[in-house]
């Protein structure tokens, strides 16, 4: 009975470690491309956030289109990854794209609270996407801040 429990524990640990390894992809084959892809999405997110701050709701569908376009960079970046990891990234990416689409849909309401809620949900989804990659490659939403007035070029 004791050895049976040990075997089950060992199997669980093995599966868990395998799952973590599959989900983390410690060393993607194209780390630069992955980092750039995440930066592109973070950059468009920052633009969306700026549009909300400026109450430019009508521009948000356009930003969503840019987000959808920008996802191509991630698809290319993981093109040569193992199938399991690729599936994991693509399913998370699809969820992120759906969240971006929701931002565009909610922008039609011109309700700032509703749009903010949709943008927060997008940020949460982007955190999940980033979590699939090593920390050094991540570009979390909010990591591309809008330059403050008075910064370079703001004369």
């Amino acid at each position: 009975m004791k050895s049976y429990r040990s075997l089950v524990s060992l199997l669980l640990i093995t599966f868990a470690l395998g799952g973590i390894q599959g989900a983390c992809a410690a060393n993607p084959k194209a780390p630069e491309l992955v980092h750039t892809a995440l930066r592109i999405l973070a950059s468009v997110y920052a633009d969306m956030d700026a549009k909300l701050a400026n109450q430019q709701f009508d521009r948000l569908p356009h930003e969503n289109q840019e987000f959808q376009d920008g996802s191509g960079a991630m698809r290319d970046a993981i093109a040569n990854e193992p199938a399991d990891f690729k599936t994991s990234v693509l399913s998370t990416l699809e969820a992120t794209l759906a969240a971006a689409q929701h931002v565009a849909d909610s922008s039609k309401s011109h309700d700032a609270a509703q749009v903010k809620s949709a943008i927060d949900a997008l940020a949460a989804s982007m955190h999940s996407l980033n979590a699939l990659f090593p920390e050094a490659l991540r570009a979390e939403p909010g990591s591309v801040p809008a330059p403050q007035h008075g910064g370079p070029g703001a004369h």
């Binding site: 920052a46 840019e66 376009d69 996802s71 370079p152 070029g153 703001a154």
Partner: protein
């Protein structure tokens, strides 16, 4: 007849001298080639700092190196302190105007808008020494796509 020709020549001499000086000054003006690009698909210029001497005949080439996002960019040089106001006026001018106010004296030079993979250029005479901001006038991009042109004395 000869006297008249001599008199004409004497009268025209100062004008000819002025014309020569203008031509000479023009030929002495340095020709400067500047190149700037987008940072791929990111909302950023690369580089964010440019420099040239005052009075130079500048030819600036702007490359849109984006690959994925269907968005347009331009390069707009303004007088100091005017980027926000010009961007706002560009937004009001709308897409048909290329998001740039027509004949706005605050705009010193500007390329047309261009899409991913394209390049555009503009020629201008470098203004007085100083630091001039540049930006992309496409709606919202001015917040991120900024840089400065430093014009040095000659």
């Amino acid at each position: 007849m000869k006297r008249r020709e001599i008199l004409t020549a004497l009268l025209m001499a100062p004008a000819g001298f002025v014309g020569y000086r203008v031509l000479a000054a023009s030929s002495r003006a340095p020709q400067v080639e500047l190149t700037i690009a987008t940072d791929g698909d990111l909302l950023a210029f690369k580089p964010t700092e440019l420099a040239c001497p005052t009075g130079a005949h500048v030819r600036l080439t702007f490359l849109h190196t984006g690959k994925y996002i269907r968005q347009e960019h331009d390069w707009v040089l303004t007088v100091p302190g005017a980027t926000q106001a010009v961007a706002k006026a560009g937004l009001e001018a709308g897409e048909s105007a290329g998001y740039l106010p027509h004949a706005d004296r605050r705009v010193l030079a500007a390329t047309p808008l261009c899409g991913k993979g394209e390049q555009v250029s503009v020629e201008f005479i470098a203004p007085a020494p100083g630091t001039y901001p540049y930006m992309c006038s496409y709606p919202g991009h001015d917040t991120f796509m900024r840089g400065t042109l430093t014009v040095t004395p000659r």
